[in-house]
């Protein structure tokens, strides 16, 4: 059963990620009062990118960086429980997930550095500053969850919320949940925090020299990252799910909420983004951590 879930989890993650890409373009189009592309448009895009006759590479470091990013994301997916399927979940896996979440930005930074384009370096520096911005409230919130539940296992943190709706992390640790929700767009890279790949400013940032199959892998990786972050949020604060159906329904609700913010807001500058992430979400997460430490002795 465990072995089966190791295969099913990444497949499920890819399908949900591609569905979310199409859903985001369709919903954004409807908000802007137009018909958008069909829901399966990301499939057409990925097929086009993989069947391109010429894929311009910039050396072995470029290829390896892209594969490192995708591999890191797939590895994280194996640790996030989906309803009944546990994958590789065991004790201590919350710390493993936090460490593994460093791999995708590292891979993209390697690939962008190998492409030797100044736009890519600007994009990578923005990505690292943004990571610095959202890591502070994120780690404080996760610390609060770990101290409150007296566990470092994602599986136990999820299953301890299953007893009733009021046992959700949202109601037990409201400040930490609010802080994490406020920085969800920053972790995913959606507006108002999409200054990393800003097409109008820095010609797509790190992705400026990506074409063909490399671009396909990079966009699949960013879609997987979207799924990972939202799934983590749902597992930690919204009670996971008794089975895959309720879990995916909750993931969809959170995704639509983040997408509605993305469709309406413009883009932050880098210093505004940094200041925002450290001010209110940071303070809320810190206060939530103190409350968790105090209430558990």
């Amino acid at each position: 059963m465990q072995f089966l879930s190791v295969i099913v989890l990444p497949l499920l993650a890819f399908m949900v990620a591609v569905l979310f890409l199409g859903l985001s373009r369709k919903i954004t189009a409807r908000i802007q009062r137009r018909y958008g592309p069909p829901l399966y448009q990301p499939v057409i895009d990925v097929v086009k990118l993989f069947t391109q006759e010429e894929n311009i590479s910039h050396g072995p470091v470029f290829d390896l960086g892209v594969m490192l990013a995708l591999g890191g994301s797939v590895a994280i997916v194996l640790f996030i429980p989906v309803g009944g399927m546990l994958g590789l979940s065991s004790s201590g896996d919350l710390l493993v997930v936090i460490y593994l979440m460093l791999l995708p930005p590292l891979g993209m930074a390697l690939a962008a550095g190998a492409s030797a384009n100044p736009n890519a370096s600007i994009g990578v520096s923005r990505k690292l500053i943004l990571a610095l911005a959202y890591e502070v409230p994120f780690l404080l919130a996760i610390l609060a969850v770990m101290i409150y539940g007296k566990t470092t296992s994602l599986m136990e943190a999820t299953q301890s919320q299953q007893s009733s709706v009021l046992a959700w992390g949202l109601f037990r640790l409201p400040l930490s949940a609010l802080a994490t929700f406020l920085i969800l767009p920053a972790m995913i890279g959606m507006r108002p925090f999409d200054m990393v790949t800003a097409p109008q400013e820095i010609a797509s940032g790190p992705l400026v020299e990506f074409g063909g199959k490399y671009l396909a892998i990079a966009s699949l990786q960013s879609a997987l990252h979207l799924y990972i972050v939202i799934a983590l949020f749902v597992n930690l604060f919204l009670g996971g799910g008794a089975n895959a159906g309720t879990f995916l329904a909750k993931v969809l609700v959170v995704f639509v909420a983040v997408l509605l913010i993305n469709a309406v807001y413009p883009r932050f500058r880098m210093d505004q983004g940094l200041r925002f992430c450290w001010k209110w979400p940071g303070l809320l997460a810190l206060v939530g951590l103190i409350i968790a430490m105090v209430s558990r002795g």
């Binding site: 137009r34 592309p37 097929v47 990118l49 006759e53 894929n55 797509s204 063909g212 671009l215």
Partner: protein, 182 residues
């Protein structure tokens, strides 16, 4: 989608992908670019056709030359076209790339774009309306289906012809003088 279309997709998914996902490199050539923002925004929505603008030529496979092409712009267009990965399609937009248009006797604009880069289709008008652009996109789909949109192959096979024409008007391009090599 009906059964005939699904069979067509399964027979050649590459063509299906190239057709319904044409990404335009957002290079604003001349005065004709003023017609592109209405096409990609809400009123005449180009995203239904799969056409979105991208910021870099590495990610694009359609190049719209909108408006007149002066010699300085031609240098930039050649560099951008050389950077796009295969298969790539070029559409001449407006009457200036076709035969010089309004600037047919100007000392600084080129008269026939097909001599310098291979062009797959032309849209006449000064400026063409958005509906004309959509008709051109559907024509390009038909050409891709029948494998007649092979400008990129022509470029590779007959490169000496294009290179000679490019050298005649732009002898100082870095790819000819070898400047800027790192």
């Amino acid at each position: 989608m009906d059964r005939a279309q699904i069979r067509k997709i399964l027979k050649s998914p590459g063509k299906w992908g190239q057709k319904y996902s044409l990404w335009v490199v957002y290079f604003c050539t001349g005065c004709g670019i003023i017609e592109i923002p209405p096409v990609i925004t809400s009123r005449w929505d180009a995203e239904r056709f799969g056409v979105i603008p991208v910021a870099t030529p590495r990610q694009a496979n359609l190049f719209l030359i909108t408006g007149y092409v002066s010699l300085k712009t031609l240098g930039a267009i050649i560099r951008t076209y050389d950077q796009m990965p295969d298969p790539k399609y070029v559409v001449g937009f407006g009457s200036c790339p076709i035969n010089g248009g309004m600037y047919w006797d100007s000392y600084n604009t080129i008269k026939h774009l097909d001599k310098y880069i291979p062009v797959d289709g032309w849209i006449s008008g000064c400026m063409p309306r958005p509906e004309a652009i959509f008709i051109a996109v559907t024509h390009l789909w038909t050409l891709i289906d029948k494998e007649l949109a092979n400008g990129y192959k022509r470029y590779k096979e007959e490169y000496p012809y294009y290179e000679e024409n490019q050298r005649q008007v732009l002898p100082h391009l870095p790819k000819f003088t070898g400047a800027g090599e790192t």
